[in-house]
Symmetry: C2
Subunit: 381 residues, 2 copies
């Protein structure tokens, strides 16, 4: 018998009560029973997104709504600014290129924060820009970008919308959709929402609906207007992922019970414990001080240690699954996820597994130093 | 306490062992554990699709793969022939129009079978046609179209592919993808595959891959080439719907244990029992004799009976959910689904609920006559 611990930045662990809700006997989606589920999901998501904008739910993973945000808001040739400091910003630029937009990229290393000043400068020089895309919380790099400041900048341009990929942000870090003027905000189910993957959600402001009205790009399954119309009757235009939505209603109930402020504080505490523990062990944090997100902590693999071996020992000997690096950082970092259904002892478990695995690989440090540092943070000291 | 029975043509009931498989603790998708799930799903689907073609799985409902079949196979202005004898054929034409194809429609009433001769004639007059679209089993009308004959016709045209919407067909009626020359075949999870909605699958022939190679329409999330490439490593390009795929592996195991021949025979028996029972009660079957599918049985509501009342009494008094008619046939038909996880006594239950509900609404017939007719079929007499 080996207990397994999922410490990845998506999929994340799902509470048993949510898993069991997804396993309830199937119901039909064109019924008053399911209309109540749709209402609960939409109201709960508005709370989590901190918005009064329309919120729509799709049977897809996060990339589906990333594509939808491009296909619904633009016309071929529209000038858009895509910011990149990780894999998912790069994906947004790829999608915008596929749809024939006039794509301008502000590219940063994966260890830098996107510069709001650069965005301000670009828009001043290109006032005809139709959209700005920012990844709030880069899953690949653990970096948190300042979408609040970007929101204030983009608000100055009445024909330019701000699209925020908050797939790893929503439910983990503060994201004040309305107060910050974020026109399109998206998330996926397998992150802060504590669900299996397979659902994605998006919020759309009045300014973004105006962009949508002029959009001429082809779309059908992800056509926002169809979803908005169906929501008037608390339903969806196409068969929804019924079991996952029943689970979503359940997880949103848990989130409302805990309260957003407490959720964010919990994520901050767990992230800080993880960071201090890793530094105490002698590992270097990947993300820059000014942009360390609380959803996932990437750590550089020390000289002489093989990343595959480390991940393998943690998973196959200790049952603790962490994520490897992606693309250029494959083999160079590991990523410890702590967004969603995580508590103090998930961090303790992971740090202990990390300590034991590093020791086995010959890395020298004081055994228990990581745990000690984590405990100090968790005790609030 | 009221027991509930889901007798709709999708979502369909999910076996408890499959529901519980979907509720297992979450695992990460970039692991050898999940690669095994992908392999099981792909191999199982090839068995069910009766194909050696590539089979790909998407986190979406059926409409997503309908759109994908257009976006992946064509260029703007391509001439395609879409056949329609129900809501889903109409949807395929809408999608083809959204993508700027040169859409030609062969339209039939919802009570007619698509004519293979008409298709043959159209292709003879339009040899530059790039694609023919046929809905094998029309969920909205219960009509089964003869894709085998169409397959032989389209095979004569090396640059024309046959796209088959078998969303309500696969796992319920015979669909010999390779033997019949069906280039693109699609299904959804919430039908014959006995799963919750949220997954869709498609098989793609070499001829369809050639079409895909020249396609210039925009796509990203549904880009087949990305999925094909990822399948080389038993993975998916984007986060898959992990829990539903674990359920799919389980349901495919059940299907292999029963065997396709037995599955089709069971569906034929249950459909015939339903049809005979309805006729014995004095109800008129909606679908024409030459095209009665075994996935769903639509029945005309008799004069003087209100469809909403009938559906309401069946559901709210007896716990039996059947589907209403769609679009023009809303209020004029009800549809009894019997595809997927259905056995003899699901039909008996439904017919008994139908008899009791019709009696309450004042419809005159001999109580028990429907059950008697059903039993005769179920006894093989």
């Amino acid at each position: 018998m080996k207990k397994n611990y999922l410490m990845t930045p998506g999929p994340t662990p799902v509470p048993a009560e949510v898993l069991l809700a997804t396993a309830r006997p199937m119901i039909h989606h064109r019924t008053t029973d399911f209309e109540a589920v749709v209402r609960d999901c939409v109201e709960g998501l508005k709370y989590v997104f901190q918005t009064q904008n329309d919120v729509m739910i799709f049977a897809s993973s996060g990339t589906g709504v990333m594509e939808a945000s491009i296909a619904n808001c633009f016309c071929p040739g529209d000038k858009v600014l895509v910011t990149q400091n990780g894999k998912f910003g790069e994906r947004m630029a790829q999608i915008a290129n596929v749809y024939g937009l006039d794509v301008h990229v502000l590219s940063y290393s994966w260890r830098e924060v996107v510069s709001s000043e650069d965005i301000k400068g670009f828009l001043a020089a290109n006032p005809d820009t139709r959209g700005v895309v920012v990844t709030q919380s880069e899953t690949s790099a653990g970096v948190l970008n300042d979408v609040q400041t970007v929101g204030a900048i983009v608000a100055e341009y009445p024909e330019c919308i701000l699209i925020v990929d908050s797939i790893t942000g929503i439910g983990a870090v503060e994201c004040r959709t309305d107060e910050w003027g974020l026109d399109v905000v998206m998330t996926g189910s397998q992150k802060g929402l504590m669900l299996p993957p397979g659902l994605a959600a998006v919020s759309v402001s009045a300014k973004a609906w105006a962009a949508c009205d002029r959009s001429s790009l082809p779309k059908f399954y992800f056509d926002w207007k169809k979803y908005k119309k169906s929501l008037e009757d608390d339903t969806t235009p196409f068969t929804p992922a019924v079991s996952l939505m029943i689970g979503l209603a359940e997880s949103l109930k848990l989130m409302r019970e805990e309260g957003l402020e407490n959720i964010f504080a919990r994520h901050a505490r767990l992230a800080e414990a993880t960071r201090r523990a890793c530094e105490a062990i002698g590992l270097e944090l990947f993300a820059p001080v000014e942009g360390r997100g609380n959803a996932v902590t990437p750590i550089l693999i020390p000289e002489g240690i093989n990343a595959d071996d480390l991940v393998d020992i943690m998973k196959n000997k200790h049952g603790v699954t962490v994520a490897e690096g992606q693309d250029d950082y494959k083999g160079r970092i590991i990523r410890i996820g702590h967004l969603g259904y995580f508590g103090d002892f998930d961090i303790i478990t992971t740090i202990a597994a990390l300590e034991m695995s590093l020791t086995e690989l010959g890395f020298e440090f004081e055994t228990g130093s990581g745990i000690k540092a984590a405990e100090m943070v968790l005790m609030g000291e």
